[in-house]
């Protein structure tokens, strides 16, 4: 049980961050699918310039995003049950995951794999900029929150706590 009792209050900062990041990735992927594919219909299901290899990477990434969401929820429920869930760390992790996914989607899915663009029949540049800047902002905000949560947890648990990773 050593790695769960690394601090006096029993909160697991590191695990709270990455478990919430999984949920962040999954939620952002779901938002992308529901809002941009289904409701706005900006993203196309298939873009004629897409290669088959890109279709394969998309299939695998898509499957991984869904599992990340389900896994994240159960892993977080488990942390909460063991009273090891640190909410400030989790919020930071969530934004980290959501922003990371948004940026990844904007750069890799849209530009490298060219699965589809943000929108069609418009000047793409403002859309791409808004997409990636929004992702970047979420990511930076997440990093700040994670760092701050980590610092405050270390302070409250006292300086004598060793970090053994």
């Amino acid at each position: 049980m050593t790695h769960d009792e690394r601090s006096d209050h029993g909160l697991d900062h590191r695990r709270s961050v990455w478990v919430a990041a999984l949920i962040g990735v999954g939620v952002m992927a779901a938002v992308d699918e529901i809002v941009f594919h289904q409701i706005l219909a900006w993203h196309h299901f298939y873009d004629r310039s897409t290669s088959d290899v890109a279709l394969l990477s998309d299939g695998l990434l898509h499957a991984a995003e869904l599992v990340a969401l389900v896994a994240g929820i159960f892993l977080m429920a488990d942390l909460s049950r063991r009273q090891a869930l640190s909410w400030p760390s989790a919020w930071g992790g969530f934004l980290l995951g959501a922003g990371g996914f948004q940026l990844f989607d904007g750069i890799v899915t849209h530009k490298v794999l060219q699965l589809h663009q943000v929108r069609y029949d418009v000047d793409l540049l403002p859309y791409d900029l808004a997409w990636n800047l929004a992702g970047g902002a979420l990511l930076v905000f997440g990093v700040i929150l994670v760092a701050r949560a980590g610092r405050s947890l270390r302070r409250t648990s006292g300086d004598h706590v060793r970090h053994e990773d």
Binding site: H3, R15, F45, Y46, R48, T50, D52, L55, L56, D58, G59, L60, L61, H62, A63, A64, L66, V67, V70, A71, I73, F74, L75, A77, D78, R82
Partner: protein, 261 residues
């Protein structure tokens, strides 16, 4: 219809012979079996089956129900556990030994089962086999049976209440789930792309029949993609709720490896 009645009767017969010394069989398991058999019956019902020979979309509904949703509900009803409880101890031991035998172990390993199930779809759609199922009823029947059986074994290999000796650890099963669901999504996208490219090729040649066929195939491929998502989520929930309910000590190994990974 006959198949449905037989499956229903079989489960009920085993359930009624269940020794009274054992705990009451959960109602939700029985309900799951009934729902699962109903899903199979709907998938094979004449209206849908007839339509499936003409329309790719109807075929896709049939495929989704038989290959993924029926197996998930049927696995949830734990027929093997029920059978093990009802059988005489000697027979139950025999069945348990059978389940542990090398051939069954190999067949019910997630990797084998995923290859049989999802790999079978690649064989169906990327070879002339699909065309053959549309003209040959016997081939079509075999393909449908394969869909249901392979789907069942794959679901069972990943999650579910029934005993599955030598099911690998959580990480392996998650990896197989992602790879299998990812390949399924890839195949759906590939078929969609082929249908769209085919329609591009045909347009201008004035083939309205081919156009309609292409459009129906493109829609069917999208249903395959999103239908696969639903099944993947259900399977992931089954897998992780098992993990969540298993005692903390017994999942130390997967726990720590998850932290490291």
């Amino acid at each position: 219809m006959i198949l449905g009645c037989a499956l229903l009767g079989l489960y009920l017969a085993v359930l009624l012979r269940r020794p009274s010394t054992l705990p009451r069989w959960p109602r939700r398991r029985l309900a799951a079996w009934v729902v699962g058999v109903l899903v199979v019956a709907v998938a094979l019902s004449p209206p849908l089956a007839d339509l499936a020979r003409l329309d790719h979309r109807a075929h896709m509904v049939q495929h989704l129900l038989l290959g993924m949703y029926a197996p998930i509900v049927l696995v949830f009803s734990a027929p093997v556990t029920l059978l093990l409880g009802t059988l005489r101890p000697a027979d139950a031991r025999l069945l348990a030994r059978g389940l542990r035998s090398p051939p069954v172990r190999t067949l019910t390993h997630p990797v084998t089962a995923a290859v049989l199930s999802v790999g079978g779809l690649f064989a169906l759609y990327l070879t002339p086999l699909y065309g053959l199922t549309q003209v040959h009823a016997g081939v079509h029947g075999l393909v449908l049976a394969h869909l249901l059986l392979a789907g069942y074994v794959y679901t069972w290999s990943i999650a579910g209440p029934d005993p599955a000796p030598h099911r690998p650890g959580l990480l392996t099963r998650v990896a197989v789930l992602v790879l299998a669901a990812g390949s399924h999504a890839f195949l759906a996208r590939l078929l969609h792309a082929q249908a769209v490219r085919g329609a591009d090729h045909h347009s201008g040649h004035g083939g309205t029949q081919a156009d309609a066929d292409g459009a129906s195939m493109a829609t069917a491929a999208q249903w395959m993609y999103y239908g696969g998502d639903g099944a993947e989520i259900l399977l992931a929930v089954m897998l992780f709720s098992w993990w969540y309910q298993s005692p903390y000590s017994s999942r130390r190994r997967s726990h720590t490896s998850l932290t490291v990974g």
